[in-house]
Subunit: 358 residues, 2 copies
């Protein structure tokens, strides 16, 4: 299926996008990540309820990408509220923000995007409906554009640390599909390629949700970057065989002391990288650093449903009698992290802890 947008140049900067707003500002296009890697299917949503559904159903995922999607949802809400008075408009926008923020309660990017949109709504509540809608579209597109710019800067900074001809291991999907475009960890891979160096990727399949197998392998293949999928338990063997030059992963949250919460499995890879004397890099925007969280130990680990482990594609893999433990992420101590790539450059975890480099 061809991408449905009417603009020749989607803001993602690629042939595909996790999310885009139509040029008329009336529809949001979401690449349904549940259908990947076998089908590239875009969903079209024309109202807030549809956009909220897309986030809740995880058709779009990845903290930056769902923040952008929420901003586009707020733009659709402004379109719906064109004929309303300033009071009606603010009520409608408030309800939309609440609906969008309730879809994935733990992602800070949702509430961040919604709060930017609400601030604008209060500023221009007295303007006419079309102007309010147009400004909300402009805000959302700006959030999208800024995210892609940040990813490109991060990628450029990180690329300097990756030598020509390297094979880089990555985990989960911190790519174009998780952001406005270009990606964080995969932005570094693209940065290496865009700097004229050759690069190969080994992608862990990333059980239980298989973001590596389904999404990272798909988007790198789309871009013509050589990618090999392994199961998560093959990492140590690949390292011992000398197949990996460096590790680059994304981050869900970075504590004030530089500890990094990321997809389950990240901490184990960091341990193995240290044992095999390989650099372990994190690529993440400054917005990921949570000053309200002193250390990794203060980060609550989300527990996910057992069905993610017990079933795949309708097939039961675990007997009903067995227990299942399914933490969604783990914490990598700052001491295991060689450097953090941000939009302001290459930082040490200590720099992040000290707030330096912003």
């Amino acid at each position: 299926m061809l991408p449905p947008w009417d603009s020749a140049e989607p803001l993602s900067g690629a042939r595909y996008s996790a999310v885009e707003l139509a040029t008329d500002g009336e529809r949001v296009f979401v690449l349904d990540q549940l259908a990947l890697p076998t089908e590239e299917r875009y969903r079209t949503y024309a109202d807030v309820a549809g956009v909220a559904h897309a986030i809740r159903a995880m058709e779009v995922r990845g903290a930056p990408a769902i923040g952008i999607t929420a901003a586009y949802g707020m733009a659709l809400a402004a379109a719906e509220a064109r004929g309303l008075s300033s009071g009606g408009y603010l009520d409608r926008m408030t309800a939309a923000a609440e609906e969008l923020c309730a879809t994935r309660p733990t992602a800070v990017n949702l509430s961040w995007a919604a709060s930017l949109s609400m601030r604008l709504a209060r500023e221009h509540a007295d303007a006419d409906g079309d102007a309010r809608w147009s400004e909300q579209c402009q805000l959302a597109r700006g959030i999208h554009r800024d995210d892609v710019v940040a990813c490109r800067k991060m990628g450029q900074a990180g690329a300097e640390r990756i030598a020509d001809g390297s094979t880089v291991l990555t985990h989960c999907n911190a790519g174009a599909l998780a952001t406005g475009g270009y990606g964080t960890a995969l932005g570094v891979i693209r940065g290496v390629r865009d700097a004229g160096k050759s690069v190969r990727v080994i992608a862990t399949e990333t059980r239980p949700y298989l973001q590596g197998a389904r999404l990272t392998a798909w988007e790198l293949s789309q871009d013509g970057i050589d990618v090999t999928v392994i199961s998560d338990n093959m990492v140590a063997h690949c390292m011992a065989q000398g197949q990996i030059a460096a590790v680059v992963v994304g981050a869900d949250r970075i504590a004030r002391n530089g500890d990094v919460a990321n997809k389950i499995g990240t901490y184990g890879i960091a341990c193995l990288a240290r044992q095999h004397e390989l650099p372990f890099y994190v690529a993440a925007p400054w917005s990921t650093v949570d000053q309200a969280t002193p250390t990794g130990a203060d980060i609550e680990i989300e527990q996910r449903d057992r069905a993610e482990l017990t079933h795949i594609g309708g097939r039961q893999l675990v007997p009903d009698e067995a227990e299942v433990y399914n933490p969604a992420f783990d914490v990598t101590p700052a001491a295991l992290i060689s450097a953090i790539f941000t939009e302001t450059g290459v930082l040490s975890p200590a720099d992040v802890a000290g707030g330096r480099g912003t």
Copy 2:
């Protein structure tokens, strides 16, 4: 489905068995491990071709279990050859041995069992058909019985190293389903329980073939042993959280220097155990020690089909354009192994290297 055998006490010593010979010596019952964990389905085979199919199709797997199955297959061949002359009998037995050994060419247990059966065949070729058949049944049952005895001794020896109330991590399935009964790594778990101590198990699902999720979780649940399934990438997190007291795994082959080849993922777990200061134990019979292999580096790593990683239950998980790397096992250096549990007791890798303790 109820186990189909007519004897009240299968040689496995449990309610279920990977493989059993009917008391009349005319049929072999194989628990179809492809149907687990959702269905306990026994297949009945009355000839060598059927038994060879069961091994080839991996209805029965695990080196000791397929050795026993091959011995039972040879007994069925002797039944088929009852009316033949000594020359015809030896031809028939030789053909059966070749057919059985060709099913899984890399497993030494197959050729070991077949060669014991052939030696007996040559010794008693001139006896009458029923006597030859009866002696082959007796040999095969002896191989089965010896394997269970070895597992129980190994379990008893290993159990002394596991404290009451421990949670033990295991990988893949080195259990009753992979042996004549009781198991090697899971034999240690049963040994702990049989010594009157409480024990809990964390089982890695063991991608790509999911032996941990499907088989280990099933057999421990059957025995009422508390088991929790995790994905392979959760091991480090569980260790960091203090959830694991020790690791016990099986072995596919042990090199002369004590290096251990086992299911892919074992080496990574050994690295993580070292980093978290946890004991890492291997449970394996002396027959696993291969004096012809000087070190782990001399063990060729079998590469398996990409489909094991790309599809589960008909669902495609990896795009066609991506490469896949699928090594079946890895090598854990002797230096990372705290002790090896054998039927002669608890040994250090150095003991094994020196051939001490046999």
